[in-house]
Symmetry: C2
Subunit: 244 residues, 2 copies
């Protein structure tokens, strides 16, 4: 018996810097399933991330349509709606107030997202197997892998978002999925083929986030490239920086 032929990774159609600077949270998906070879490529990229002492404490539970997957997705969907209802109310996300505002758009997107959570194409629970007491820096050994996962999805024409919808139901999920006691559920990630238009990545201007030599002191070189889109926290409008 000879070993089956294993696929190499596909060729890239997105550049590295391009992917890093333009990948955004994707919460609306087409009904397309994700083929196993795409999942292999995405998870392979996730597991190539660095971790402290290269211990690789990250584990990924892929939830598609297996019996426990369906039950876990139901739990997560209920919890997602609960969490979003609380947050939406607390933080004033209303789809009817100022319907064209960023908050109203987010309210509509989130309502649709959590409302249909059970039918997102793929859910991945990322776990961290702890070998010592919880510490603030432990996330350095699991969230880089989550970021690789989301970037790899983008590389292959898919998209996703990292959420905390497992928070508050860890005991039920851990029992259902046989997650051992030493493993912390670090993220609930949904993945699928992006549907419809998605806006640009919006962030605060670089000079508000990057300092040199001391806190608060933006370096002269902290200039956003032409075409940068800003969050409300940043300047709503400013003269074109490319006008020569």
């Amino acid at each position: 018996m000879t070993a089956p032929e294993v696929r190499p990774l596909p060729a890239d159609s997105v550049g590295l810097l391009e992917g890093l600077t333009t990948t955004r949270a994707i919460r609306r998906y087409t009904g397309d399933l994700m083929p196993p070879e795409v999942l292999r490529d995405i998870l392979f990229a996730a597991t190539r991330a660095a971790s402290g002492s290269n211990r690789q404490p990250f584990r990924f539970i892929v939830l598609i349509d297996g019996p426990r997957a369906v039950a876990a997705r139901r739990l997560l969907g209920e919890r997602a709606r609960e969490i979003w209802a609380g947050k939406g109310q607390r933080e004033g996300y209303r789809s009817d107030a100022e319907p064209r505002s960023a908050k109203a758009r987010m309210a509509r997107t989130m309502a649709e997202y959590v409302g249909g959570f059970e039918s997102v194409p793929v859910v991945v629970l990322t776990c961290l197997v702890r070998y010592r007491e919880p510490a603030p820096m432990e996330g350095a050994s699991v969230y880089p892998a989550c970021q690789n996962l989301l970037l790899a999805a983008r590389a292959l024409g898919y998209g996703g978002v990292m959420t905390g919808f497992h928070r508050g139901i860890e005991p039920q999920l851990s029992e259902l999925l046989s997650v051992p006691a030493e493993a912390f559920i670090a993220a609930t990630i949904t993945l699928g083929r992006p549907q419809g238009g998605h806006g640009p990545v919006r962030r605060r201007p670089l000079a508000e986030l990057v300092f040199e030599d001391t806190w608060g002191s933006a370096p002269e070189w902290a200039l956003d490239p032409p075409g940068t889109a800003y969050t409300a926290a940043g300047p709503p409008a400013r003269p074109s920086a490319t006008a020569g």
Copy 2:
């Protein structure tokens, strides 16, 4: 007066999936400085990462050769040597025992790295501005940005590594660099132009890290692509999976 012309991001020479699967920790650097435009591109990519509710709580303090940078790098260098001396002894990293073993190689690399810490081209302290009590998932809002930073360095022909060399000296660093009390120093990252040969990314086989439907159950599709290099935790050698 017209605004100065701001550079666009450079074109990519590395693919996204390629970068994700082959970027490794770089601890040996040439003496090359990092031009401001390269730092701009790297930090811009870092700050495009997602964070919870897009709050962007990450801040980056770039330490090059300013007066406080030099003092901070000295503190970090001393602490790096202290941390490594303890870890090297505890975990049996010795450069003389089995000189060709992975541990002996790592011992030599680390001795050189921490010994010359003050002269690495660039040190970046990544901080997380907390708006609520510390929580295990807070790292999801800062370590994806650190991963973007390291991947962007790779995209531009540089490399780096994320460390915890600030641990134990946070009060001194925070005072020196005016880091506010609500900001947690999440990572000490060094960057530079890679020197000499660097081996491939080595990880455990995919089937040890990825499960479907339940913990411990590897999906059939969890097959490493041809050419995958493994850590000692993985299989030291196995028959070629590409033999058809």
